[in-house]
Amino acid sequence: MYCAVTREPIDPTDLLHRVRSDADGAVVLFAGVVRDHHEGRSVEALAYEAYEQMAVEKMELICQEVGARFEVGELAVVHRVGDLRIGDISLVIAVAAPHRDAAYRASREIIERIKTEVPIWKRERYSDGGEVWRDGAVPNVPEPGNS
């Protein structure tokens, strides 16, 4: 398992080779890339910010839990922070597995959980001059006594 927050560009091919083992027949890579629009507004640039240590710990927990539920091999998640431009890769999830079905399903579950559990934020700067912290998902807080 390899989870990281980085300020450097992410190379999907590197991550593929990092997760692949000789027993795996499939690797599914998910890449989030910076789009030029959001809800009709033209996006010019954006910045990601993370609560880094907690973000990495949450990504590791997600990988552990998803890894235990599917027949997968190694998992990697890397999220970029700092200033990004349109087309830059913000996130890569790499899942290796002996068979593709598990790789696709695990990848899907990891991205859904990242979007609601990992403390990372996005500030969008629009072509019309505005700049806002993108509204996001409210993480679930455990019930008292369950933490």
Partner: protein, 80 residues
């Protein structure tokens, strides 16, 4: 006791700080800290429920805090 509060993203803008240290009575809960923090926000709009992590775990307001705890206030997340 003393706890460290971290404010990220939109909350950093609201509180005008990334990190503050607060003194609290022994045995204070996260809920008590949240009240203190809300009072500092003045008229700024905050969600009805402020999500916080204590020592990097999402925590309910009933959580009892300890000296040296790191309490992070977590705006809605938007990674991906």
């Amino acid at each position: 006791m003393r706890v460290t509060c971290l404010f990220f993203a939109a909350y950093r803008d609201v509180f005008g700080a990334e990190q503050i240290e607060l003194e609290l009575p022994e045995g204070s809960t996260l809920g008590a800290l949240v009240d203190v923090v809300r009072a500092r926000a003045g008229d700024a709009l905050l969600p009805r429920q402020l999500v916080a992590a204590v020592n990097r775990e999402y925590a309910p307001v009933e959580t009892v805090l300890h000296d040296g705890d790191e309490v992070a206030f977590i705006p809605p997340v938007a990674g991906g």
